[in-house]
């Protein structure tokens, strides 16, 4: 079949990202031709500021060099500006600097012509030395001027203006920022944050003239008073004049729709100008023509930050690939200033107004300011200065429109700052030195992360994890890594809502969509899931297969067949793999109780199989470490013979129920904690879940079993039991939240069983109970488990049904076919 022709006009970040997304979906659908006015490949425009500041070089900010176009069979016409679109003959005509013309036919046309700096209509705006700030040529001109001249004036104190001013200052110029507003960055910051930012920029040597209107740019004069062909001063309406050898105008951008309009495509009128597109990024005038990026007006908004443009690119690519799924419905944006050493974050509508409330934390001397604006218990905007570590958390809550009523009292103190381990409680990403360790698991320093982001052109958290390994093990530094990413790429970074985040690279669907589809379409095999949801890979990967397998067996117990090859090795081998490839074996001790004969059998097994390490675990069990895989079936047989079964210390499953000695022995005990613990553990035996599940039962509020940091914690009181849920003693110490109080042992079983079944049915794979609770809210769980008795009993019944024929995996693994995986094949020399 003959390929269709796709022509891209505009070789910038939005257009090329769309092509990249398209190549991922349909690599062979089109012959692709790209026209770019600039004589380069595609570079990271956002990083022009660090280039200006001398922190990076041009080769470092190239995203797609010329080899990339060649490797992907894309014809690139760099340095040729498209001047005409002939929609009847379906071709574009481009002109080079020397006047030569190039033509290209298209079946589909993608416009990504970007924006142009807005230069106010004031006298002198065409003098040499007056620049916008948009591309490599502007940046090079500024660097050149910095080497020759002294006085720079930047008009406009928005993001771009301040970054330009900072760069010129670092290059040794005397810089004055002129702004028409009362305070700087007034579209992103409120006055308090802006004043703090201004003070810290002034401390670096930047000068400000606020509430000033520029009247004219005046030419320089020779000593004799003759006018020269270069700017020399700026005059304001109040008559004041300041010297200016270089004037950078950063007074906003305008969508560049000249070409589109000349081709008869509708580009709006009045205030909303830009190439008008629908939710599929097709121009409203001509369905063969698509447009993305800063040149576009979508639902009346033209975006100037790169994150929304990437979202547009993704949707546009999907339609270009003829998949036809996905709509672009607009973006919520957030802002970060890229000035080294200064942390500023802003998102949403922070202007306040009727019906809004605000919470403010302001430590002027300490240099911290946080303001969160709420409406109907939801975050609608936030401004942070100094400590911006929680910016992405607030942003997430805002995008997800999640109620913050329950967490309002500690909202300002951030997302569980206390108990964060592994990076010394660091929370100011931009001011951390490059040598500071960010990821304590993999020993990754800030400098390494920043370097990777810049050199490899990374934009997402996943990419940073892949390239640097930071935040890829325990994940406790994820917030910090996100901050470093945000402060390095600025507006390009946009946290993805967990609800929309794809499971892995094999699919564009989120955990939510996959879970719901399995239930709704009654899917019972991974093949059915992959087919129904158009998986990109034939049999998934190590990320999605375990998740899908779990969703299948938890949605359709007894019906969906468990697939061992979709489980992590620990769940296949029913033991925990260690760094040297040996395994650890933990026999179950119900409620932490054991007997002399069990201990004797464990001791015998440890000697017989020469177990090098025997250790008591945190969950009140005995761990035999360093066992060869081929010995596993035999040691299990010995332990089974002594009446012991698998302790599931290896699974995303019920692990342990830890108990104190309770009223059985303790003089303070109010309830039989050991007995309760054993009953719970027997009820939950062999229960798989989205992640590991730990319980504890204490016989009195002294809580010796540490029930406050367990997924389900039961605390005996004289009149019954208190139930706590969502605790966690790991990466982040999370204190469990009070669920309800119950009177009897039977109720403890029913309520905790129902809670865990709800988690099993609705939690996402690898989501601990605390993360699930944070996502859905404790109120929701209470409404299903505590307030609705019928629903609770049904949940509990479904749990019992799912576990009705649970068998000891140590036993079943020794059966004929299953045992083969443990036995190596020996060959003779």
């Amino acid at each position: 079949m003959k390929k269709m022709k796709l022509v891209l006009v505009g070789n910038g970040m939005a257009g090329v990202r769309t092509i990249e997304e398209l190549l991922k979906l349909a690599p062979d659908l089109y012959d692709i031709t790209v026209f770019g006015a600039e004589p380069h490949g595609n570079y990271n425009r956002i990083l022009l500021s660090p280039v200006l500041a001398g922190e990076m070089t041009l080769p470092e900010i190239m995203l797609n060099d010329l080899d990339w176009y060649r490797d992907n069979d894309i014809t690139l016409h760099a340095g040729r500006q498209v001047t005409k679109i002939d929609r009847v003959k379906r071709k574009v005509i481009a002109e080079a600097a020397d006047g030569s013309l190039t033509e290209a036919d298209y079946d589909r046309l993608l416009l990504a012509t970007g924006s142009t700096p807005f230069i106010p209509p004031i006298p002198g705006n065409d003098l040499p030395g007056v620049l916008g700030y948009r591309d490599i040529a502007d940046t090079e001109a500024m660097i050149e001027a910095a080497g020759k001249y002294r006085h720079a004036v930047v008009i406009g104190a928005g993001l771009l203006g301040l970054e330009a001013a900072n760069g010129l200052m670092l290059r040794g110029m005397d810089v004055t920022v002129v702004h028409i507003g009362e305070w700087i960055m007034e579209r992103q910051l409120d006055r308090a944050a802006a004043d703090m930012l201004q003070a810290s920029l002034e401390a670096k040597g930047m000068k400000f003239l606020l509430a000033r209107q520029t009247e004219a740019l005046l030419p320089a004069r020779t000593e004799r008073g003759d006018m020269m062909a270069r700017v020399g001063a700026v005059r304001f309406k109040d008559g004041m004049e300041i010297p200016a050898d270089l004037v950078v105008v950063a007074a906003g951008i305008r969508p560049n729709y000249v070409l589109a309009e000349s081709a008869g495509l509708y580009c709006g009128s009045g205030r909303v100008r830009g190439i008008h597109v629908s939710d599929t990024l097709q121009t409203v005038t001509d369905p063969r023509i698509y447009a993305v990026g800063e040149c576009v007006a979508h639902r009346g908004i033209a975006y100037g930050l790169v994150a929304p443009l990437f979202e547009q690119g993704k949707v546009c690519a999907n339609h270009l690939a003829n998949f036809g799924i996905g709509r672009y419905e607009g973006s919520v944006t957030s802002t970060k200033l890229k000035v080294t050493g200064i942390d500023v974050f802003s998102a949403g509508d922070f202007g306040g107004g009727p019906g809004t409330e605000e919470i403010v934390l302001h430590d002027k001397q300490g240099g911290v300011y946080k303001r969160v604006v709420l409406k109907d218990d939801r975050i609608v905007g936030s401004v942070l200065y100094g400590d911006t570590a929680d910016g992405s958390w607030y942003f997430q809550l805002m995008k997800d429109r999640q109620s913050v009523a329950e967490i309002r009292d500690h909202l300002m103190f951030g997302q569980n700052r206390l108990g964060d381990t592994g990076h010394k409680g660091e929370n100011r990403a931009a001011s951390m030195p490059d040598t500071a360790e960010v990821c304590g698991c993999n020993g990754v320093c800030k400098g390494t992360i920043v370097k990777a982001i810049k050199e490899q052109g990374l934009f997402t958290l996943d990419e940073v994890k892949k390239h640097t390994k930071a935040a890829s093990s325990c994940g406790s530094c994820t917030g910090l890594v996100e901050q470093i990413l945000a402060s390095t790429v600025g507006g390009a970074y946009q946290a993805v809502s967990a609800n929309d985040k794809p499971v892995c690279a094999c699919t564009e669907h989120s955990h939510k969509v996959v879970r719901e589809a399995i239930f709704k379409h009654h899917l019972t095999s991974k093949e059915a899931v992959f087919e129904t949801l158009n998986w990109r890979t034939p049999n998934g990967c190590d990320k999605c297969r375990p998740a899908v397998n779990y969703y299948l067996i938890s949605s359709w117990p007894h019906e969906a067949k468990d697939d061992p090859q979709s489980r992590f090795i620990n769940e296949r081998a029913h033991a925990n793999i260690q760094k040297d490839g040996t395994y650890s074996v933990v026999p179950r001790m119900w409620g932490g109780l054991t007997t002399p004969s069990e201990l004797r059998a464990i001791a015998d097994a440890a000697e017989k199989y020469k177990v090098p390490t025997v250790k008591v675990t945190g969950g009140q069990r005995i761990d035999l470490l360093g066992i060869k895989k081929e010995d596993l079936p035999a040691i299990w047989a010995d332990l089974n013979a002594a009446g012991m079964v698998s302790g599931h210390a290896y699974g995303k499953s019920i692990r342990t129920v830890k108990t104190c000695v309770g009223a059985e022995h303790c003089r303070f005990g109010t309830q039989l904690a050991m007995d309760m613990g054993v009953k719970l553990e027997k009820m939950l035996f062999d229960m798989y879940a989205p992640h590991k599940v730990k319980l504890a039962v204490s016989g009195c509020p002294r809580n010796c079993a540490e029930a406050g940091i367990k997924d389900v914690g039961v605390i005996g009181v004289d009149s019954g039991y208190e139930l706590y849920v969502g605790g966690n003693g790991g990466i982040k110490t999370e204190v469990a939240q009070f669920l309800c109080k119950v009177g009897s042992d039977e109720e403890v079983m029913e309520y905790s069983g129902a809670f865990l079944q709800l988690y099993r049915e609705e939690g996402w794979y690898l989501e601990r109970t605390v993360h699930w609770l944070n996502r859905v809210g404790l109120d929701y769980v209470k409404s299903r488990v505590v307030e609705d008795g019928d629903n609770r009993r049904q949940l509990h019944a479904r749990l019992l049904d799912a576990l009705k024929d649970a068998r000891d995996p140590w036993q079943t693994s020794r059966e004929a076919q299953a045992i083969k995986q443990f036995i190596p094949i020996k060959v003779e020399a």
Partner: protein, 103 residues
């Protein structure tokens, strides 16, 4: 001349799984079988920290090491970018439902 050693029936290796082949005085070899019944043989040792690749999850023509999640290409033994490194591979074939390894 290649010395083909008969290893086991193909069905003794689970689809999307692997078996370990032990040689006296030499390092272990992992034999993988993918969904299309293609077989591959690599040193059972991840180039990262020596993890046993035979214990990993097999997908497409790749295996994910169980220790730290590196992906290794089954055909060439090379780590999938951005990771880099490779492990040795061995010629392997299936004839008449039996797996043979070149040693």
């Amino acid at each position: 001349m290649t010395d083909w050693k008969r290893i086991c029936p193909l069905d003794d290796i689970p689809r999307l799984g692997a078996r370990v082949v032990q040689r006296p005085g030499d390092e272990d070899i992992a034999i993988f079988r993918n969904a299309e019944d293609e077989v591959f043989a690599l040193h059972d040792k991840c180039p990262h920290k020596g993890g046993p690749l035979s214990q990993g999850i097999v997908h497409g023509r790749k295996v994910t090491c169980p220790l730290h999640g590196w992906n290794i290409g089954l055909e060439d033994g090379h780590a999938v970018a951005p990771d880099s490194g490779h492990c040795g591979r061995f010629a392997v074939k299936v004839e008449g439902g039996e797996v043979f390894l070149a040693l």
